[in-house]
Symmetry: D2
Subunit: 376 residues, 4 copies
């Protein structure tokens, strides 16, 4: 259950305060040029300590690829995937385990401490163990490699902070300037709204509190036909991917929850002819997916994040013996996870789409022409 | 991709206008007494023609179990599961295929016609083919059997219509009388609100239009410890299950989307000691799941349904040649799918929980005592 | 665990004396023309009562396809696969359950009675229940459809009875006339040897005893490149497929067990150039697979079948209470399963190769050209 | 396809001349004490350079566990599994890549060079890349951990070299002294035969040639009831596991291929009563498995290994341009792989049995008693 995907499969391992975080990517197509700087830059977007909005922890988070790649003999020595599994690790450094000594026997409210303890009969008190968001490092590595594959297909994945607390940018993504996402620390494409979000986060932080929000995402350039009915509907796979991210409490696509108040005559997307055998829709209330299969329009989705559970203020709780105690968390924590969660959302979306793309390659029977395969 | 689950696995087949709908349930524990009347009553809850709110189509939808069961030698001949796969079929009857003749070459707006056509290169124009909601018959059969298993464990699954258009009952399920769900045609536990919902649906129907809504669900009696981190988080599996149901556009659990405006200090659930080695929470903002693992509190979730795409009014669209045409749907269709979707939601929830329960049995190493196994 | 395959997936259900045997084929490519007569003819090859060598039971074994197919609008109404799951059933008829009444509480030697009882805590005494070879009906249906797919690719699968007791035909299949396989009741391509095998089987039958043997198979036209290292090696998948057939005790390919006495210098296959970027081997000791991947040469394998356990003579055993009893089997049973197992071996081989072919389509990233997809 | 198992799942990565070999073990039960010395000792049994029979390469092969373990607070700080995935790596050292420079463009006979090249369109010429037997390091790590689990259940797995070329020890394992397996370099329990095997291997080595053989294995203490009909038969899973090991050409269990000449009356195993609700068999021709399910008797199997393809003598072949060339392998290679393959066979058997054991825990519905779970 630590594996994601059907064909392009990411298996992850690692705890926050263990020796390393890492994973194995199986099923990556061969011959993909891997831009290591790009992979590292994606990790840097997720890294703590980027701005005053995030935890002050400094983590280098340097990824080391251990297998599945080879220097191309023809392409200036660029790294290429070989089709065999890509193993990778990121060493854990600078972990202040002692910050957590006080928590050894305490169940922090709304954390996974209690549920892991009940499930496994033991606990790793050091910073959340396996349930720590550090696990998402492996997802960002997998997602970066998936993005490099999708780039060859003209498919692009973008996510942004759409709401923090009650401050939201326009829901209609076509009215946003997505090129501005990385222009500010909260990763909101509306820079005026971004400033308000930033102010709110700093205020919440000053109170030792935390705040939730919404990340939105859009996938463009996705061809029609991806997604596997009936249980493998594209949005069901996308939803499962997003709901597996720490602190996520909801997923919607297209008109989502807001659309339940509409009539069918309002929400239906009328088809118009685009080109030979290709249709477009006048509107995109469907969010790019119909009957669980992409229809060629942009895929639009939104994800609800709860306020993170770690507060820098005292909280009542109990210890493993059932005694009432007060928790006094220390350490360095984010008052709002959304800015750093944006690359994680993109990573999960990229892996989901690539996996759907690859599995879709199996529904037609192609005559394999061996001679054409070995051209490179 | 027509299989749901990891241990308790449902594989389904069938199109709306083919010979039969059916499936195979693999991994059902042995020795479960199957109450055929209960299974059929669950199908009856899903069946069209139950009330004036639903399509007038009459479908008998009688299930036939073909394998995996045996009359108990000791229990008055009651049917018991044997641990081998349970095959079942429901014959399609009374299908007015001719209702769909006009649609042979037309892509109905916001249906799966176009996406299936692009994906598979052909189409089954008769009533939606595989994308028809008739496929959910198989889910209800699987869910009914899962419910019979869960009943032995004291786990109960209930769903209800929580909102139709802009008419909603109380979000706090503890304030609802869930015993009233089946007392009215819309399956809303608040009977006064139910009447308003019914009025709205009939009004929409009279306009040849359709309307969306929200179904809520709660799972009680679920022990702590279910769910598999990191990609198999319990709510990720539950979300994928719900998002695979036709017309679903969103899933949330606990405080969901509404909770993004809250602070951590508001949303955290404080632990209190219940009994030896067992904790409870004062509040349940988490919705019964923390870190992807059930914490023993009720699991609460909500699902957004769009208004169904089939309108009984003309709509602009195109045909497979790209020509602009007007679609004139006929036949018998639901103006609002929610009343009939309630048992489908319950079925998917029941299968998800049972599957999580069974996989959880593998995380500890039990010494198998063969002699104790064969007591029955 | 009642599912076979990764992309082309067969899920089966059914007991020998239940209502029906059947299954679901998921992942069959769309647009394959299904020749129903061919599918039925494959079932007829497996059917009891074909000759005096097999049980006298008469089973019609008529297959009914319930979904996943549509009459082609262009191809004379021929049935075509739609890409959705193909459900099918074969009704059980003419089952003399009363033949088994004496066996209700008895563990027949070397049958699955005892192991099923210990595993599931109950037993279906009627003819073996799920462990009956009747389950292989579903495999033959799946295999027939796989063969129709492979035919489009120029891949052919043939199996034959290579040995019965100590009577064997030539191990070198290139010296056999495979067109003679169906010319005799034992399905041995060497008609003189076939006669000796037939005599031996009839003699064994007259003694109320049974006899084992070897089935050999060859897959021709298979392109190089199929098989997934490291755990999904092509021969590992083929071996698992064969070992899942009732009464199979061994699997080997290429030189197999006999080759362990050879030196590397004897067994290595020297490469010669065939055409641009394509190699052939002077010899084929490897059996068409190197490093777990097909090399374009014929794939050759052999399977050991034990003598079936059901004897028409008294045998000592115990009952479920541990009492020593004597078993007196009645009913109609094969003295040698090999003639009827030939189509089952072919079916499993065909599904394995098709599945490997489809998964191999995912290792390269193809730009999906939607317009080309919908040509048909 | 680089993942083995259903519940206890090993995913591996790594090429012979890359940075590291490693893997992830998912689904290992929690609370298992990991004896690191034992794990390393298993790797040492597989390591090259153990004796004059094996390659002179010196590989340290030190395993580093990266996650999934925690020092026990109560058990003298022993490492315990936590139930989360165990990531591990073994660094590659001392790799003489330059030994392979001459082979850059050459397809070595009966190696995987050609098939990998055709499949992936590129090749890693350095020592076989992913197809190298170095990949089995990860299997030995996984198998060692599986053995530690099985030890708690009283299940033991042993393998030995049963035949080299035409020199074989007794097929009846009950006549062998298995405590002598590790007493000699070939790992044959019959020390007199072992000496003859050693002489043969050294003679073959002196000729620059290689030789095949048979490894036998036995699993004792395995309870009745393991194995999942119909496609997951225990011997089918065991066979697939063994066939996935490099150079394996065949698998048989019980009487295997030799048994095809027997009559049913000779090969059937008569049941006798052992104790309440438990049966034994007078003989064990079945090899401990009936109907795909373990029957409580020892599980006995044999595996055929071909002579390895790398000869230290010139061989004709072609290069990637289709030109005829002569291959002159250098480097350090084993003349016979069997002695070092013994621990690999054991590892695959141990993982197969543990996986079957864990999945068997799901067929009964146990009432989960949370309080009992957290006793430790």
């Amino acid at each position: 259950m630590n594996t994601f995907g059907n064909i392009f499969r990411l298996t992850t391992f690692g705890e926050s305060h263990g020796a390393a975080i890492g994973g194995v990517i199986d099923g990556c197509p061969e011959g993909i040029t891997l831009d290591l700087d790009f992979i590292q830059s994606e990790l840097d977007r997720r890294r703590p300590g980027q701005s005053r909005l995030t935890t002050a922890r400094k983590e280098g988070d340097r990824v080391e690829l251990l297998s599945g790649v080879l220097k191309s003999p023809t392409n200036n020595g660029a790294l290429q995937t070989t089709g065999t599994p890509i193993g990778f690790i990121v060493r854990n450094e600078n972990q202040h385990s002692s910050d957590y000594d006080d928590l050894r026997d305490i169940f922090r409210p709304s954390h996974a401490d209690y549920t892991y303890f009940i499930k496994y009969g033991l606990r790793d008190h050091r910073g959340g163990g396996r349930s720590s968001a550090r696990e998402t490092i492996s997802r960002v590595v997998g997602g970066a490699i998936a993005k490099l594959c999708l780039r060859q297909l003209g498919i692009d994945v973008k996510a942004w902070t759409a709401q923090v607390g009650n401050i939201a940018c326009d829901r209609d993504w076509t009215k946003l300037n997505l090129s501005q996402i990385e222009s500010n620390a909260v990763r909101c494409p509306d820079t005026a709204i971004a400033q308000q979000m930033e102010d709110l986060i700093l205020q919440v932080k000053s109170e030792g509190d935390t705040i939730g929000g919404i990340i939105a995402g859009v996938i463009t350039g996705c061809p029609a036909g991806l997604g596997e009915p009936v249980f493998g509907k594209l949005h069901a796979q996308l939803g499962a991917a997003m709901l597996s991210i720490n602190a996520v409490k909801g997923f919607e696509y297209g008109e989502g929850f807001a659309g339940v108040e509409q009539r069918g005559s309002e929400q239906n997307d009328v088809f118009v002819s685009a080109s030979r055998r290709k249709a477009e829709t006048k509107t995109n209330h469907s969010g790019g997916i119909q009957g669980g299969i992409s229809n060629g329009q942009p895929i639009f989705f939104r994800i609800a994040f709860k306020p993170v559970a770690t507060l820098l203020q005292p909280q009542e709780t109990i210890d493993i013996h059932g005694n009432a105690v007060t928790s006094h968390p220390r350490g360095r924590h984010d008052p709002c996870v959304l800015p750093r969660a944006v690359p994680i959302v993109e990573a999960m979306a990229a892996m989901t789409i690539l996996d759907a793309y690859l599995i879709n390659q199996t529904i037609h029977l192609h005559a394999l022409d061996a001679s054409s395969v070995v051209e490179k």
